[in-house]
Amino acid sequence: MGDIGSLVDGFGTALQPTYLLYALLGVTLGTAVGVLPGIGPAMTVALLLPMTYKLEPTGAFIMFAGIYYGGMYGGSTTSILLNTPGESASIITAIEGNKMARSGRGAAALATAAIGSFVAGTIATVALTLTAPALADFAVTLGDPDYVALAVVALITVSALLGSSVSRGLASLSIGLLFGLVGTDNLTGQQRFTFGLPVLGDGIDVVTFAVGVFAVGETLWVASRLRHGPLQIVPVGGGWMTRQDFRRSWRPWLRGTALGFPIGAMPAGGAEIPTFLSYAAEKKLSRHKEEFGTTGAIEGVAGPEAANNAAAAGVLVPLLTLGLPTSATAAVLIAAFQGFGIQPGPLLFENEPDLVWALIASLYIGNVLLLVLNLPLVGLWVRLLRVPRPYLYAGILMFAALGGYALNGVTTDLWVLLAIGVLGYVMRRFGYPIAPAVIGLILGPIAEEHLRRTLAISQGDATALVTTPFAATIYTLLAIGIVATLVLRRRAKRVLDQIVHPEQVDPEVVP
């Protein structure tokens, strides 16, 4: 297969000392920022984006790959050692991992998370290597109506699945779509929703939006109701993983990977659902059920953490081959690609093979570096958890302001950033999920362009949207998928409820 040769070439590029340095810098920064509480993977990537503005694309993407994977590793450390729930994809890790840490097995929990992330990340990257080129070859044959269908799938599922309220998800998505409309219409050159302001003429930059809604919005949200009182960080205690821990971990790692990659790779994916499913599966299969929710079961850390990282690699499949972002982080990554004048999609493998394969090779390298960084150095990262909160959030805002300014060097961008930050605050305050807005912003213009091209070719005949075999199949699957995922979601939620309020569900389980 020619792909193997391309991958070898990719390694040839990525293993050059300069690029290795970028990869190391990326994973280190990604882990460091990801460990900081309050910063999820999407915000990590958005905040660190300005550092790459002047790099050449290959170096920049190798660094992004490192930041992306590093942010995922860092997040799990936070959720194991802080006894407050963080972002939803790591909530499960937080539950069992934190219980383990508090019963003195923190070191083992961190180790199984790190090794599980490595195993899952590597297997999922192999799966990405094998599936992405084939999918890209297929994607080249797709036409405009097919892309409309894919975009519709991504938009609908994203708004329905992220967050707990479908109507608020739809509202968030529509707000993102509206922001995506602002600017000059690509096809006719008309100004839309610019209010005659030159700053809006080029549209709202995705990076500005992401930094505003994530970093500024989060800081305002924290400012409005900061958790006071002493920080409760569980000390890393206990021995490292024992042989028995390994025996109990390897199956959950593999099962988590098997759940995470395919679900992450679907246009309707995300990392939340596979972690819930993995947790439910491990709880059911474990021979140590009594440890779940009490002293913390290692399976309950190993499985979901593997699922989380495998899903992160899975998300790259639609991103690289179709140009479809299915998570907020993916949307920011697409914005980063576009910043370099590169459009992810089916032609990426043909037009930029060197870049793509160097990127994929750097994912393997990044995983190895992360394992090395996370196993012996975990104590170093743990110290980052102790950064006093006022300084932490002041620093986040400082980097947000830097990112908003460095893009174009004009202060009007910063006012836009502040306004979007206030929007992010309101959305958090009233339970509107953030991710659909970011995805809508980047996906809206893509969807509109394909939609209008379809209808221009069909001369206004709307049936052209559904008559290609692929589009028809997609819409049918969408209908089935919506029903199925709603059911799955309800089950996942029930699992979560049981974990969070065990006393309400089965009162006899009292220590």
Partner: protein, 172 residues
Amino acid sequence: MHEETSGTAERAPVPEIAVAIGVVALGLFTIVDAHRITVPLSSNAVGPRVFPYAVGVALVVAGVAVVLAVLRGEPGDPEGGEDIDVNAPTDWLTLAKVIAGLALHIALVDRLGWALAAAVLFTVVAWALGADMFRAAMVGVVLGFVVQAIFVSGLNISLPAGIFDGVSLLSG
């Protein structure tokens, strides 16, 4: 019904409905403003207005759905987080200070240069969140200059030097 707050369940949903109505209003505005987009004669069946209309309708539908959900007794879940006390009342004063800090930074950045404006931002925000102002200022100044030096000299990204124009590490 007592006035005392006894958990989030009894919180009056007025602000929540107001926000949802805001979404509806945004949708109506979108539809009205979409009507003002010039459609060139050359454009095809689907011009620059169609997608905006659709987004406007989606906003109205979503907003109405949220209003109905709130009235049915399904309040929004405020986003959780490691440093968030979801049950605390909104601390408007701190919020205002942080926003003022960012606004001050924006007003100063071109005049004083990025490093000092960033130090101001850092100081105000850290102080607002409870840090000692003097210590925050010291950390902020150091951080501001270090970050500017790294970005300008190391990463080749231009940030305004302001009053330090001509200083080699800071202006690029």
